[in-house]
Amino acid sequence: MEYMTNSRMDSANVERRNAEGLTRRAFIKSTLFGLTATAAVLPNALAAAEEKEAAFQENRARNVTYLENSPLKIQEGVYKRYDSHMTAMNVLSRELGEPWSTRVYANGVQNVLNGKAYTDGPASSVAEARAFRALQCGTDILNMELTRYGHGMENIGQLSWRPLRVPKGLRPEDRPPDETDPKTLTKKIKTMARLVGADLVGIGPVNPNWFYTRIQRNYAAPHPPFITKDITFGDISTPTETDTALIIPSTFTRTIVMGISLNRVFMQTSPSAVANSMAELGYTRMIVAVVGLSEFIRALGYNAIPSMNGTGMSVPMAVEAGLGEVGRHGLLLTPEYGSAQRLCKVYTDMPLELDKPIDFGAVEFCKTCKKCATLCPAKAVSEDDERQWEARTSSNNGAAFKWYNDVMKCVRFWAYNGSTCAVCMAVCPFTKGAAWSHAATRFAIDKMRFADPAWVHLDDAFGFGELRDSSVVWDMDMSTYAMDPKMVRQTKY
């Protein structure tokens, strides 16, 4: 075999270029043009993430009122931290003698065989029903394999409280942080949060009130199921687990809360398997967000605890991190995505600037609007005009001023339905797309609160939040992770 020497290659190239009519000057020009265009058109991912966060902050500053103090009220001396052993899902699992989700899945399979999208909702055929269920199987697999919603999975597997793959030499115990300025660190954290998939990110305090007193180990954890561990705070330097407790260092003073948005149209097929697939995708994306951000923090020399649904209540933490307000349905309402997001958080000892809680008129609006309560298929959402102090069920945590929902009714409906339900999220008037008309309405809701009843009637009259047939999703225009392309454009992505 004859190999080309460099000189022969050069002359061959020159001949080829001459044959193609490409002179050396033209070649250099086109190369330079190509490089310049590439540099201009393809900003690197970090810059894009930073830009997205800047656009978010700019938009927020125009449209919300920042509060100096937390809007969450508790009865001092009466309020107790919540025992997550008592969550509706844990109670139902104990009642059934099997994990609640096993029952939900079994009924879900039965629905497919009966040609249904959910127990009371027909699909066009068994094949279509199976395709809906398959969406769920495809979106929840990583969550189910790795983290199981994070509930009872504290310090297990990917949700480890210690560094996973940060190289030795960069771990917090090996080298102290090189950057300690809160402003710089906050910017880096928010950029990284966007980079690992957070659509919303805010920083709040570590408020022990929102942490569970104890957790119940998830049945998927490598522990006997249903064993419990206390969550305590201690004067230690690194997060620690003992036989009986999970100990968070008292040096942990910041909670980074991230919101993962859910496609509104998918949610409006609720209570179907298709809507459930979007929720499951949210959990799968959460793994990347919390694990990625935690490792980033650890590589910078600080400690971090990743948390999905575990360790504490995400909604009040998100409120104190300035992401939104608590709605009638007990979920977070944000100006950007309404009720359609899932929440996850990372606790850290990194010094970060706190975000301020916000008011955009959502709680006031919820007093008038009872759409989630009226349309809840399980009748689990409170229809009270005003928020209360008393719990409704043993799965509620009383002495906090909010609407209390019958969460047991909610979870029992999931088991009956063969799929989780998100009707309250889907019909919420704040769960809207990125149209300017919705932005204008949100502005009016905030600034003209006396007109709230009129907005509720108009929302109904215009058919917003109406539940849809599951098959709508096959023909939708969607972006990566079913993000609404318009929302993506709005945030300059």
Binding site: W436, G463, E466, V472
Partner: protein
């Protein structure tokens, strides 16, 4: 077109400018609603826009007739 515009007095010109803005806003709401899979809202906005457009024309006719 230019002649028609030149024939209008200041008041009429302002009226038609406002009318046009309202109709364009209405049409943009219709388009946005359909783009967002909100068909019923799109129909509602289309009907409202048409009503406003027709009312505008009737109003200016009556106004001109009254001198």
């Amino acid at each position: 077109m230019k002649e028609i515009i030149l024939r209008l007095n200041g008041k009429e010109l302002s009226f038609w400018a406002i009318w046009l803005v309202i109709v364009l806003l209405g049409l943009s709401l219709v388009v946005e609603s359909y783009a967002e899979y909100e068909a019923r809202a799109g129909i509602c906005f289309a009907v409202l826009t048409a009503v406003v457009a027709v009312l505008g024309i009737l109003l200016i006719r009556r106004w001109k007739a009254a001198g």
